[in-house]
């Protein structure tokens, strides 16, 4: 299926193969590089799920599995990509695991390598044991990173039961329990083509690329999907803790204010995400009244940032700042958010133009397109609909979002500071 998006100047090809794999192809005229991501809807939160029976796996296993996929009987897949002139990478988030490469030559070989290595698990007792040392080091490195500790400290304080509160890499203790059999089980459950999306963008001919991918997939046999359910937990809208202090040797204290939101699935979730993002721009950008006031008082500066995380089963807004006056900063921001919202149509219109511009600029990057499109596609959305969705946001919706989100009982403050 060929889809034209004239307002962003792109044409997308989408096909669902017989085995259930969703394939997206986008030709970027004039680009040298081709970028491909092969993504499974499987992340750190998928710790309990049902095949024939319910299974619980050790925390951090999705990330561990991602590391181990690169090791094969005949060597390291990184090296194979390297020999084919490609640089490969992978990442694990709360809800997804993505494998990717960028290359300017040997695109067919590299796409085949990507498909083959992700679909061919190979784990041994010895290699699993060795990996525990490497990931243990990675976990320790993150323990020294104040920004990471702050972020996970916040999430952990916000959530009662939802597994988003568990560090993506797990703990040294939890990964020590991982076995090769566990890895095979997770691979079988979540790496079925019907749970995955392949996105290829760049210097390609879509028809030829599709034929190559079809042939590759037709040559492999897959069992019927075994995954029948993922655990859903009850999570209250209110936060677990309203404040959390982590002691670390940092020069300037770091603070994050989190507001827990009610998650939405599918297209409603994507619309909610854009609405809250626009709202946060209106409230916290440098042109906002609150920013101007706090800047004059020396309470806010370039170190300030904000972010909205939205997935099917969890959603939260986070404001982040580094300041020696944490209490004053938190007090002023909270107080402002407890007042009724005042927003003009003029501001809304300007913020829409701004977000449209941001989106168009991001389309320069094939990496952005592939990563974000895959995320949208696995949530039943379409990235190129963003301009239309932004355009449709109304002032009333912003007021609703404000009322729903910025409530005192949904707020957590996390601080990293010296003992």
């Amino acid at each position: 299926m060929k889809l034209d998006f004239p307002n962003v100047g792109e044409t997308l090809h989408h096909h669902v193969l017989d085995n259930g794999l969703s394939v997206y192809l986008l030709k970027k005229t004039g680009y040298e590089k081709t970028f491909a991501t092969f993504t499974t809807k499987y992340g750190s939160i998928d710790r309990r799920f049902k095949l024939e029976d319910w299974i619980e796996v050790p925390d951090g296993i999705a990330h561990f599995l991602e590391h181990k996929m690169f090791e094969k009987e005949d060597g390291d897949v990184f090296q194979q990509f390297g020999r084919q002139g490609a640089s490969a990478n992978a990442f694990t988030s709360f809800t997804r695991t993505a494998y990717l490469f960028g290359a300017t030559s040997k695109i067919s070989e590299n796409v085949q390598t990507l498909l083959d290595f992700v679909q061919t698990p190979y784990f041994t007792k010895e290699s699993v044991e060795k990996e525990k040392g490497i990931i243990g080091q990675e976990i320790q490195m993150y323990q020294d990173n104040p920004g990471w500790r702050l972020y996970f400290g916040l999430i952990e304080a916000m959530y009662e039961t939802h597994p988003v509160k568990i560090d993506i890499a797990g703990t040294i203790e939890s990964i020590s329990k991982i076995t090769a059999e566990d890895l095979y089980t997770c691979h079988q459950a979540f790496y079925h083509p019907s749970n995955m999306a392949l996105f290829v963008v760049g210097n390609i001919e879509p028809d030829e690329m599709l034929a190559l991918i079809r042939d590759n997939q037709a040559g492999k046999s897959f069992e019927t999907p075994r995954l029948s359910a993922r655990e859903t937990v009850y999570e209250p809208t209110t936060v677990r803790l309203s404040e959390r202090v982590i002691e670390m040797d940092v020069s300037v204290p770091k603070v994050m204010i989190g507001y827990k939101d009610v998650p939405q699935a599918g297209e409603a979730g994507l619309k909610q995400e854009l609405t809250v993002e626009l709202l946060m721009h209106a409230l916290f950008d440098t042109t906002a009244p609150l920013y101007t006031e706090l800047y004059a008082e020396g309470l806010i500066d370039d170190a300030f940032s904000f972010d909205y995380t939205s997935e099917e089963t969890f959603a939260f807004a986070a404001l982040s700042m580094e300041t020696s006056e944490v209490d004053a900063f938190v007090g002023r921001v909270t107080e402002a958010l407890e007042r009724p919202l005042q927003l003009s149509q003029e501001t809304l219109d300007r913020k829409k133009r701004m977000m449209q511009g941001q989106f168009l600029k991001a389309l320069n990057s094939p990496e952005f397109i592939a990563n974000q499109f895959s995320r949208y596609a696995l949530n039943d959305g379409n990235l190129f609909e963003i301009p239309t969705l932004i355009d449709a946001i109304t002032l009333d919706e912003l007021y609703e979002a404000y009322e729903r989100l910025f409530r005192h009982e949904q707020r957590t403050v996390c601080i990293v500071k010296k003992p």
């Binding site: 590089k33 020999r83 300017t104 080091q137 020294d144 440098t286 320069n364």
Partner: protein, 412 residues
């Protein structure tokens, strides 16, 4: 890169007309000799200038038209490049035809406002913004302490002396002497005496660029780029302790290779074999085979004629890691590497060069280094292609360990 047009009036222009991007990107760069006396003022100046102008005298007033123009990015930054200190102003604008409005020319006017009509009166920048930005700069200088990799690299560079030892933001003490007046003096000096270069990538032609940037034609002084001389100091070693979980081991090798020569291009092959890529010796042996480190990599700095190695390790494994790093260099010097690995390194270096053209920022970064690297992209690729095992061995033998710094965690 084919298609780059270069021309000169008072200012020097490099323009790459292309329709493949959604945006047009412009960079105005001011370069002055690097000195410890001026670095604190010059490092703070861009943060002040990008915040407001005489026409739009507050952050709120200045950022409003930028948002209105489809989130035009206008940001400024400063960096050390070899023996020079460079202040850059970058503009990124959505192409007119995508939004059906004339955005670019309005955005360039805002950039010119920043450069020609700063928010300053009576020879001083606006005190409120200076005060806030100075406080913030203080935090930035202090926060290097929180980023242990950066901290260790800064300490290593201090050991090496010369330009490398000058911290890019200046010291806290130097920052204490920065005032609204001293910043204005730095601004005056910048627009009068710096070498000014303009780079544009996007849906434009030469005439458009000449016309749009004409108001800047009176700025700056044409003077040649300064390059660091070769230097090779006595071997030094330093170990410090902090309460951290992962220790940092940083090494500096000096090598006498002129950055304008073929040898400097070939050094990238050497670096690629040593520690620049996931297939490099450092990654394969220090991290993978011996499980000594979470990361171990190297970086070649052609301008400063150094090669840096850095590793994140367990405190107890410092000596062993150092020994294995040395063994990897010895192996390179003895020519112990596969032909296939050499070819793989070249492929990745080709790939890096080919993909430059896909990112406006990378394109501009490459264009701005072109006067130090006298080769075209195709010529560079040819030099890499014909780099032999003998070249690699000879260059690896040039490398001499000059400094070792270790930031140790665990028990002191």
């Amino acid at each position: 890169m084919k298609g780059i047009e270069q021309f000169q009036h008072q200012l020097h222009y490099s323009v790459y007309p292309t329709k493949k991007f959604k945006t047009t990107t412009c960079l105005v760069s001011f370069a002055a000799p690097l000195s410890a006396e001026t670095v604190a003022d010059r490092a703070l100046l861009p943060f002040i200038m990008e915040k407001s102008t005489a026409t739009y005298p507050s952050i709120e007033l200045f950022h409003t038209p930028l948002e209105e123009l489809y989130d035009t990015n206008l940001y400024a930054g400063a960096s050390k490049i070899g023996k020079e200190h460079v202040i850059q102003f970058q503009l990124e604008v959505v192409n007119d035809h995508l939004v059906g409005e004339d955005v670019l020319s309005q955005a360039i006017e805002l950039l010119e406002d920043v450069l020609l009509r700063p928010n300053a009166y009576d020879g001083a920048f606006q005190p409120l913004i200076v005060e806030q930005e100075r406080r913030l700069q203080r935090q930035r200088i202090e926060s290097v302490y929180d980023d242990k990799m950066r901290f260790a690299q800064q300490r290593l560079q201090e050991m090496l002396g010369g330009e490398l030892a000058i911290p890019s933001l200046g010291t806290l003490e130097q920052l204490d002497h920065v005032t609204p007046k001293s910043l204005y003096a730095a601004y005056q000096s910048m627009i009068q005496h710096d070498r000014v270069d303009i780079y544009v990538v996007g849906d434009v032609n030469r005439e458009q660029v000449e016309q749009a940037f004409n108001p800047l034609e009176s700025l700056g002084t044409r003077r040649p780029r300064l390059l660091p001389e070769a230097s090779r100091g006595e071997f030094k070693r330093l170990e410090e302790h902090q309460d951290i979980k992962q220790s940092k081991l940083h090494l500096a090798y000096s090598l006498n290779v002129d950055p304008r020569t073929e040898a400097a291009i070939r050094m990238q092959v050497v670096n690629g074999l040593f520690g620049g890529f996931p297939h490099s010796k450092l990654f394969m042996n220090v991290r993978e085979k011996e499980s000594l480190a979470y990361y171990a990599a190297s970086q070649y700095s052609s301008l400063s004629r150094k090669l840096f190695v850095y590793a994140g390790i367990d405190a107890t494994k410092k000596q062993k890691t150092e020994q294995i790093i040395e063994e990897q260099l010895n192996a390179l010097q003895a020519g112990e590497f596969e032909d296939e690995t050499l070819q793989q390194t070249k492929e990745l270096l080709f790939h890096q060069r080919r993909q430059l053209g896909d990112s406006p920022r990378q394109l501009i970064a490459w264009m701005s280094g072109a006067d130090v690297r006298p080769f075209s992209l195709d010529e560079e690729m040819a030099i890499i292609e014909n780099t032999t095992r003998d070249h690699v061995v000879a260059l690896a033998k040039e490398m001499e360990l000059e400094a070792v710094y270790c930031l140790k965690g665990g028990e002191a």
